[in-house]
């Protein structure tokens, strides 16, 4: 019954107060979600944000209206941040604030060597999503004494700019990407 009371209490508070109450109270241990549900939801938010950024910012302002470009050297070029940089900066900020989960955008063919897979699961996951388009990869792995649930989701070439920039980049290890190809993957990791 403890359950019910808390729910009623939370409902009685203004929405502004509900969130802190959830974080501070011990409500968090009442609803159980599987790690797969968690990573799927996190990925849905990330991929939707990434898609919105690509469509409403890059596609619209760079490709359609041609008013501003996206560039790796966005500061010098006074340009938009690249989609992958946008993603990495967000991931780094999350990393500063929590150990509850972490994420990154990796590839078997990275422009930035920092984005290469390191663990066996990352390598197997990237290989799997590239060979099975439209599917995700899930596994558990032990790193430094902690067991993690690790999920890998495909990141695909959705616009000609993805392909041309990567294929022509001086640091790219692969220059035959085509539209629709899997270019890499989002890796999300939660400790169990």
């Amino acid at each position: 019954m403890k359950h019910l009371k808390k729910a009623t209490l939370a409902m009685g508070l203004s929405t502004a107060l509900v969130l802190p109450a959830l974080v501070l109270g011990d409500v968090s241990d009442e609803a159980k979600f599987s790690p797969k549900q968690m990573t799927d939801w996190l990925h849905l938010v990330m991929s939707s944000d990434r898609t919105v950024y690509t469509r409403l910012i890059v596609n619209r302002l760079q490709n359609k209206e041609k008013v501003i470009k996206a560039s790796e050297h966005f500061e010098d070029d006074k340009a938009l941040v690249l989609p992958a940089q946008m993603f990495r900066f967000g991931a780094e900020m999350v990393g500063e604030q929590t150990d509850d989960f972490s994420y990154s955008l990796l590839s078997e063919w990275p422009i930035n060597k920092q984005n290469a897979p390191r663990t066996e699961v990352e390598k197997a996951g990237l290989a799997y999503i590239a060979a099975n388009k439209g599917e995700n990869y899930y596994a558990t792995e032990e790193l430094g004494g902690t067991t993690y649930f690790t999920a890998v989701y495909a990141d695909m070439a959705v616009a000609p700019a993805c392909v041309s920039c990567h294929n022509d980049h001086k640091d790219t290890p692969r220059s035959d990407f085509k539209l629709g190809d899997v270019m890499g993957g989002v890796v999300i990791r939660v400790p169990l």
């Binding site: 469509r55 409403l56 388009k133 190809d181």
Partner: protein
């Protein structure tokens, strides 16, 4: 990869080859918001615009209302207008075949 049907006639055979090479990457499973090949419901209103509109959109590219982008010639500048039309014909056939 899913098996995409072959249809009689040289044009549709050729269209299938071109489509597999350049268009399937997105239209196969709906990457970038592309309408999935063979999804009759998704294609009906598009086909309703008439073939000329489809050809034009496939050749010159176009932006959907939500910022989705169909790139000109599917991003493959090597393709001639005629080749793009053959690929459109094949995809329209997939979407109308019973």
């Amino acid at each position: 990869m899913a098996d995409y049907p072959e249809f009689d006639g040289e044009a549709l055979q050729q269209g299938r080859e071109i489509w597999l090479d350049t268009c399937e990457g997105c239209h196969g499973i709906g990457v970038a918001g592309a309408p999935v090949a063979g999804d009759h419901k998704a294609w009906a209103p598009r086909i309703g615009q008439g073939k000329e509109v489809l050809y034009e959109h496939a050749i010159d590219g176009f932006f959907g209302p939500g910022g989705t982008m169909m790139p000109a010639r599917g991003g493959n500048e090597q393709l001639s207008e005629h080749e793009v039309q053959l690929a459109v014909d094949y995809m329209v056939r997939l979407a109308t075949d019973k």
